[in-house]
């Protein structure tokens, strides 16, 4: 016996139960479920409680108004409408059930086999599935009717086969996704049979999407079946919602009221099914981010606990004093003017329920003309939020909730878009972290460089292209023309980052905000990009706010540095002082973590090649 225990599947029955409970707690979910349950009950007992035979016609009852004996009156052939409606509900629901069962059985089984075992069956099934997209289902059903004659059941069986592709695609995609998960590998290694893995691990994952899909498929089945019956293609001896509607339509000038009951039944059932699917999707989607967030905070808690035990005395989130060191001979320069002043900056995020969540709790810093100011801290400390606040580009829901951001005498905190006109892209440049995702894949690199040049500097197309080519050359791209015409996905990450740097400096800004500009790059490329940044900064005398979590980068480039933790600045000063004699325990722990990686070295010897702290 192996000692490996099988890890539990993701959504355990416990979670499913709570999803049902949450569904019922939503008004939409409860209402639609209750209505569908009502329809189902009528479908089961309808034929039993119907007061008359649905097909018995009586001359007296032709288009009769409602009466005590016939509460809904009579139709054009003199049949009792209430009895027909009860029978029709039964037949329509049963017909939809035939389609759903056929679709479920075929689609789920085929999807499981194709997704789990792949091979020839996968190719064949996917090809057949794509074949059903080549013709409208209604045409296929009418063609089948030409051969098989009028039969609700045959039609719905064939429609079920067509609809099975919806389940097939869903199950297939899920299975292919789950199949690669580690817990499925673990189950296989531990010797579980394929059947058990499918049953236990894979079916449990696709169950919820299948239920949502079923609600949608049921609506489509009822709509199409009613449509066919409405066209008069069905078996006229069997009452259905569609055939009742047909009767109403043929008498639309005489008695349009005949259309009322069947159309109400069709519309309300279809709406209830759609609302149910939507409510279920909401419930399932809501449950995901909650779980994710929890996992993330757990991960953060671990990294926080790791660095050093002496952090216990620092209360996160409360305004402790920032340790500010005086300028030393390298950073002091009386001729430099202050470019960017941040005072007591607070950044908060709106919540759907409850008060805003504050992620930056009142921080202050100055960036002088031509200096590189490092902003260092671990992930989630709020350094990127601070940078985005300066750019006025906080993600949706985020805003500056307090304090001031002054740039060359202009107030940028909590102002509208117009205040940034002529500032962003012209006087402040931005270098992002992830090179690939920061270039639009649908446009050439050249276009993305030329567009801002024309907008901000008013250059002609030709001048902008020349300028862009010169920039590409300057940032060390070997063949600027070819890169100019290339799409982002055609160049390497290092090249893409050079392109983004070129874009940031293209309008000759006074300040560059660089958000971890080398984190996503290979170590060798990192050093080259850092060199490029330093050269460009000296050449153009730009100031830079450099966000990073890497003390190597700080030591390599920065004049001054600010250490950030949990939305607060804990220490600020010249880079030599901070690295040489850090005063705050958090800074000390960060530096200790860095030096633990190798033999003890003097702080300034740690260069770009230094590993992540």
């Amino acid at each position: 016996m192996t000692a490996i225990t099988v890890p539990p599947a993701v959504p355990t029955p416990h979670i499913r139960a709570s999803i049902f409970r949450r569904l019922v707690r939503k008004p939409m979910g409860l209402l639609s479920l209750a209505y569908l349950a009502f329809v189902f009950v009528i479908a089961v007992i309808g034929p039993l409680i119907a007061p008359y035979d649905p097909n018995t016609a009586s001359i007296d009852l032709v288009l009769a108004p409602p009466s005590p004996e016939h509460p809904l009156g009579g139709d054009s052939a003199g049949r009792d409408i209430l009895s027909r409606l009860l029978w029709a509900t039964s037949v329509t629901v049963a017909a939809a059930a035939v389609a759903i069962v056929a679709a479920l059985v075929i689609g789920v089984i085929a999807g499981l086999i194709a997704g789990y075992f792949k091979g020839w069956f996968d190719s064949l099934a996917s090809w057949v599935a794509s074949l059903t997209m080549a013709l409208p289902a209604v045409i296929v059903l009418i063609a089948a009717r030409a051969v098989l004659g009028p039969s609700v059941w045959w039609a719905m069986l064939i429609f079920g086969i067509i609809l099975s592709t919806a389940y097939y695609r869903l199950v297939y995609a899920t299975v292919v996704g789950v199949r690669g998960e580690l817990y499925v590998d673990a189950a296989r290694v531990s010797g579980l049979s394929d059947a058990r893995i499918i049953g236990r691990h894979i079916l449990s994952v696709v169950r919820a999407p299948i239920i949502i899909q079923t609600a949608i498929v049921a609506g489509i089945a009822i709509a199409v079946q009613s449509g066919l019956e409405f066209l008069g293609l069905g078996d006229m001896s069997v009452p259905t919602w569609g055939s009742m509607l047909n009767d109403g339509f043929r008498n639309i000038y005489r008695a349009p009221i005949l259309m009322l009951w069947p159309s109400l039944a069709i519309a309300s059932t279809c709406i209830a099914l759609t609302l149910l699917a939507n409510a279920m999707r909401d419930v399932l989607e809501r449950s995901v981010p909650v779980r994710r967030r929890r996992r993330r905070t757990a991960a953060l808690a671990i990294t926080e606990a790791e660095p050093a035990p002496n952090l216990d005395d620092i209360q996160p989130g409360t305004a402790t004093e920032t340790v500010v060191h005086n300028d030393d001979h390298t950073s002091a320069n009386p001729r430099r003017e202050v470019l960017l002043t941040i005072r007591d900056l607070r950044v908060g995020y709106q919540q759907q329920t409850g008060p805003d969540i504050e992620v930056v709790h009142g921080v202050s810093l100055d960036v002088l003309e031509g200096e590189i100011h490092g902003l260092i801290g671990e992930s989630g400390s709020g350094k990127t939020q601070t940078a985005f606040a300066v750019l006025g580009l906080l993600p949706r829901g985020g805003r500056v909730t307090g304090g001031s951001i002054e740039y060359e005498g202009m107030q940028l905190a909590d102002v509208g878009e117009h205040a940034y006109r002529g500032v962003r892209g012209k006087r402040i440049g931005y270098i992002p972290q992830e090179p690939m995702s920061n270039l639009d894949p649908s446009f050439t690199i050249g276009y993305q460089l030329v567009e801002p040049l024309r907008k901000n500097l008013g250059l002609s197309k030709k001048a902008a292209k020349e300028s862009a080519l010169a920039l590409l050359d300057r940032v060390g791209i070997p063949s600027p023309e070819r890169t100019f015409d290339a799409y982002p996905f055609e160049v390497s990450g290092g090249m893409a980052q050079r392109v983004l740097i070129a874009g940031a400096v293209s309008t000759d800004p006074d300040l560059i905000i660089a958000d971890e500009p080398t984190t996503a790059l290979d170590v060798t490329v990192q050093a080259e990009v850092l060199d490029l940044l330093r050269d460009l900064q000296r050449e153009r005398r730009m100031a830079m706010l450099l966000v990073t979590h890497n003390f190597g980068v700080v030591a390599d480039l920065c004049d001054r540095v600010t250490v950030m933790q949990e939305g607060l600045f804990v220490e600020q000063g010249p880079v030599r002082t901070i690295l040489g004699s850090p005063a705050h325990p958090y800074t000390q722990s960060l530096l200790d973590a860095l030096l633990d990686n190798g033999p003890a070295r003097p702080p300034l010897a740690v260069t770009a090649e230094g590993g992540r702290p």
Binding site: A134, V138, A143, F230, L273, N278, G425, L439, P441
Partner: protein, 313 residues
């Protein structure tokens, strides 16, 4: 690009061949009983035999299909079993009716859906909520039901539009508009609902992309970033869903044509389906498949124009 188009065309031709073979096989599978069904239960076996011989139904299905295929390649889809008319002749005028209906619907839905989707994605709040509710209803209620009530309200009670009949575009533009407006509106609502949801979703997705922030950091306004970059990136998924909707619209047109008594392919399909007129049915299947394949080709081309990854792959 040319290779891309040729490859797609070839795939389309193969698909058409497969569909025609499958359809023929299924429609003529019951060869032995077709003549019996045409003549009724009381016809004598001799008569049935004779009729089957006349129609060539006594031969193996493969032979019959080969016959059909070779004729079809020369543009002859056979004759109706009921009125003896050439299938191609029956189809001729009808294709235009159905296409004007479905293309009109597609254009209208695309415009409205993009407008609504962009509005919902950018504004959020109650605008988004309202769009959501409308699109849930539009998605849920079957198009023919909407068509019925449109006829009842706008054609019969208010008398604003023609309730039935079709006026060709070449005859009178206003007449054509009057005859197709209600059917197009009825068909559009479902498509608008589905495409709006997709546009909204992919807009929200595209707006949260990193490159949007970077483009804005370069001094470009949100408006120009949305219309030039976000819409283009959101366009691909929206087009894909529009292609799926188009196929659904062809099916919906069959029912809606019946409601408005429009002489399109749908009406012919219903007629052939009720009568069991298999040569006509076969011709219709091929015609519908050709339309679907051509539209998919156009959608593929549009995808390639929007997305360089598709174009360069």
């Amino acid at each position: 690009m040319l290779a891309f188009i040729l490859r797609r065309l070839l795939a389309g031709v193969i698909l058409l061949f497969v569909i025609s073979a499958l359809a023929f096989g299924l429609l003529y599978l019951d060869s032995a009983n077709i003549a019996r069904r045409l003549l009724g239960q009381n016809a004598s076996p001799e008569l049935v035999q004779q009729r089957a011989q006349e129609l060539g139904l006594d031969r193996p299905v493969v032979v019959q299909y080969w016959d059909w295929l070779t004729n079809a390649l020369t543009g002859d889809l056979g004759r109706s079993w009921f009125n003896g008319q050439l299938v191609t002749v029956s189809l001729q005028g009808r294709v235009a009716v159905t296409l004007s209906l479905v293309i009109g619907t597609t254009v209208l839905s695309a415009i409205v859906a993009v407008a609504l989707g962009v509005l919902a994605a950018r504004r959020g709040g109650w605008v988004d909520g309202g769009v959501q509710i409308v699109s849930v209803l539009g998605f849920a209620i079957p198009g023919f039901l909407i068509a019925l009530y449109l006829v009842l309200i706008f054609a019969i009670n208010l008398d604003w539009f023609k309730a039935t009949g079709y006026v060709p575009l070449t005859e009178s533009v206003t007449g054509w508009l009057s005859s197709v407006t209600l059917p197009i509106v009825a068909l559009s609502l479902g498509a608008i609902a589905a495409v709006t949801q997709q546009v909204r979703g992919s807009m929200i997705d595209a707006m949260s992309r990193d490159y949007v922030r970077t483009l804005r950091s370069r001094g470009l306004g949100m408006g120009s970033v949305v219309y030039r970059h976000v819409l283009r990136n959101a366009g691909g998924p929206a087009l894909a869903i529009l292609a799926v909707q188009f196929i659904g619209l062809l099916g919906g047109a069959v029912i809606v044509e019946q409601v408005f008594a429009l002489p399109g392919m749908g009406q012919l399909t219903v007629q052939a389906g009720t009568q069991g007129d298999i040569p006509v049915m076969m011709g219709l299947v091929v015609a519908f498949a050709v339309i679907v394949i051509v539209v998919n080709l156009f959608i593929d081309l549009a995808q390639a124009a929007l997305n360089p990854k598709v174009r360069l792959a």
